[in-house]
């Protein structure tokens, strides 16, 4: 008890010495992870004679990393000043971080074995936004951690109405209300419908991607690849040599990818139920791995719904609630639900936007400049021109046919993309339409804007065009290829809206 009274949070202090150990360990871990390819080459290609050299290398590297950790430990200190947590750090580059208490989203304790042995705590101080803003105190004494935590929370209960905590959203939503209103749930038939209309092109792309690339880091396989996969389709096609092989592989790939996407979609959305609770939503789904996503109204930055070509025919929608959260919890950021009817979409939107949702009815839609289509087509043309010329030279007529037909489809999709891209502004909302063969609509309240960026390339300057990027705490809304004067107008309007409003963005 006496000890904790001695702790002065206002005086600059370093972390516990255990931090040196932990920083070194972390550095070595990341170094090894990044040099895995090199190590593999050395171990496979190199002979045993090189072992000595490697050992020396490891020792030198280890020493350097340890020295680095020690210096960074001594350069790292923190203290409380007013209502801010201040952290000084940096070995080569001095950085001073100031974190006002009311911007802190959550404070998490973490203890692994090393921490427990030395009875220290790793404290993650989380704020919304980029990773540079997060403070990690790798190892501080338990008493210090407690005191700091209490100090910040005390301040917050006195000065901030609501305590945001990224991790306890589900609890706060459930605590806040008794009524659990079911918005909709998927029946088995609807589930099959969702599975059949899933994005088969994507799983096709993923298959082709796996076919042509060796993946080294299992951790990185996720949404990243899914997004990149679609780009691989034309390249993969071009690489295949004979018609029969193409036909056979095509049928096989289509069949397998169809099956895969149906199965994964059904596994993911099995028993999907969406509830309205208090001022938020809860979405439950999953067959083997049942997951629960929470989305609080105030945290939703952008609400979008979409339909691909197949979903259009089945008239079902997929809805995505893009939420503000820190980088550390990126995996729980977006709450997604599939298989919604138009009525469900309207109901959800009305919950999120209340009467503002009516603005959408008489919003005025603006088109973007046709240079957008031209730019997209030009990009595909560059990609296609080299392989096509090669096919012509080598007289591979069926491949020429394939490339040309694929190119035509892509050109059509570019034109559709341009035609569908529309934006609209009301007094309170900004809306973006998009899609090529399908539809997409995103809605955002104006006061959710964080930051506005207007860009102009040399090619745009000749045409007096600009592109607008509106950053929110979740994703960015892009309005590409609009006239510079229009971009300025929208920018001024949005800035006016943000700067004259006191509404919190979450």
């Amino acid at each position: 008890m006496k000890k904790s009274n001695e702790i002065d949070l206002y005086a600059p202090q370093r972390q516990s010495y255990v931090a040196i150990l932990i920083i070194t360990y972390k550095l070595i871990k990341t170094t090894i992870r990044q040099s895995i390819p090199a190590l593999v080459v050395i171990f496979i290609g190199g002979s045993m004679r090189k072992v000595g050299g490697i050992a020396i290398g490891v020792i030198v590297l280890g020493t350097l990393l340890s020295i680095y950790s020690i210096i960074s430990f001594y350069k790292y200190y923190f203290y409380v000043k007013g209502n801010k947590l201040i952290v000084h750090k940096g070995v080569f580059k001095k950085t001073v971080l100031e974190i006002p208490f009311d911007r802190i989203q959550s404070i998490n304790n973490e203890q692994n074995v090393i921490h427990r042995i030395f009875s220290v705590i790793k404290l993650n101080v989380d704020t919304a936004g980029s990773a540079q803003e997060e403070v990690q105190l790798y190892a501080i004494r338990e008493e210090v951690a407690q005191k700091l935590r209490k100090h910040i929370l005390d301040y917050r209960t006195q000065n901030v109405d609501e305590i945001y905590s990224v991790d306890s959203d589900i609890e706060t939503i459930e605590e806040g209300s008794v009524v659990k209103d079911k918005i909709f749930s998927l029946s088995l038939m609807q589930l099959i419908k969702v599975g059949m209309t899933a994005n088969h092109l994507r799983s096709f792309g993923i298959m082709v991607f796996f076919f042509f690339s060796i993946y080294d880091d299992l951790e990185e396989i996720g949404m990243d690849i899914m997004e990149r996969a679609e780009e691989y389709i034309p390249i993969a096609q071009a690489l295949l040599q004979s018609v029969f092989l193409i036909l056979f592989l095509a049928v096989l790939f289509v069949f397998v990818s169809f099956t895969i996407s149906v199965i994964t979609t059904i596994m993911r959305y099995y028993g999907l139920t969406m509830y309205r609770i208090g001022d938020g939503f809860i979405i439950e789904s999953g067959l083997l791995n049942r997951k629960q996503y929470a989305a609080k109204d105030s945290k939703i930055q952008i609400l979008s719904w979409s339909q691909n070509l197949l979903q259009r025919m089945a008239s079902i929608y997929t809805i995505i609630m893009q939420q503000a959260s820190s980088v550390n919890t990126a995996n729980v950021k977006n709450a997604t639900a599939a298989g919604l009817t138009q009525e469900n979409v309207n109901e959800v939107s009305r919950y999120v936007f209340q009467d503002k949702y009516d603005d959408l009815k008489d919003i005025e839609w603006y088109s973007i400049h046709s240079y957008y289509a031209y730019k997209l087509i030009l990009r595909w043309t560059w990609i296609f021109i080299v392989p096509t010329v090669l096919f012509v030279i080598s007289q591979k007529y069926n491949l020429i046919l394939l490339a040309v037909s694929l190119y035509i489809i892509l050109v059509v999709s570019c034109i559709l993309k341009y035609k569908k891209k529309k934006y609209g502004l009301s007094n309170r909302l900004i809306a973006i339409r998009g899609g090529a063969f399908g539809h997409q609509l995103s809605l955002m309240e104006l006061h959710k804007v964080q930051n506005i960026k207007v860009t102009q390339t040399p090619f745009q300057r000749r045409r007096e065009l600009s592109s607008l990027a509106v950053h929110t705490a979740s994703t960015t809304i892009h309005i590409p290829e609009i006239s510079t004067s229009q971009a300025m107008k929208i920018k001024n309007y949005l800035l006016y809206k943000v700067e004259s409003s006191n509404k919190p963005w979450m």
């Binding site: 080569f92 580059k93 936004g129 964080q450 930051n451 990027a469 300025m488 001024n492 006191n502």
Partner: protein, 177 residues
């Protein structure tokens, strides 16, 4: 609580084009040029070395010459880009936001309202310290791609800017309650 929602004529909104921009400190060009010169020196020396010693026999002398020529052209191009890039970097402080524009050929202008600033930091590298320059960074919840980062500000000015903006965000917070 009073609720204001009056009609606004878009034409009367504060225009960003009226703003007078403040260029970066001249000394920052020295920092940029010093960095580029170090890089160029290493590049050119290694290319000249390759040309003189011609380590790979199956590559013709002409190949090394071409590489050296391209290296020199690239360095000249970098100097043009850096100098013009520096001239095009500027910031402007308004009562409710800060504007930063950058880019010579590919231009961009970022505006961050003060009431969205999460926190502010001042950074200083070893080279910048020589000229007493700093980089001011404004963090918003919009993620690292949208954080505003203004290099080449006099260290004292940076401190003042930081205090000014911090004061503004504090006011914005107080108004909320």
């Amino acid at each position: 609580m009073r609720f204001h929602n009056q009609q606004v004529d878009v034409g009367t909104l504060p225009q960003l084009s009226d703003v007078i921009f403040q260029g970066l400190e001249k000394a920052y060009l020295n920092v940029l040029l010093l960095r580029l010169s170090l890089f160029s020196l290493v590049l050119i020396i290694s290319l000249v070395g390759l040309y003189i010693f011609q380590p790979l026999e199956d590559v013709l002398g002409f190949g090394y010459m071409a590489a050296l020529g391209m290296g020199i052209l690239y360095v000249i191009w970098r100097y043009i880009v850096v100098v013009n890039g520096f001239r095009n970097k500027a910031y402007a402080l308004r009562s409710k936001d800060i504007v930063y524009k950058t880019g010579w050929l590919w231009k961009s202008t970022t505006t961050t309202p003060f009431n969205r600033v999460q926190h502010i930091s001042i950074e200083q590298g070893p080279v910048e310290r020589k000229w007493n320059l700093s980089r001011l960074r404004l963090f918003t919840a919009g993620g690292s791609t949208s954080d505003l980062s203004i290099p080449g500000i006099d260290h004292n000015t940076a401190q003042e800017l930081k205090e000014y903006i911090a004061g503004k965000t504090r006011i914005a917070e107080n108004e909320e309650e």
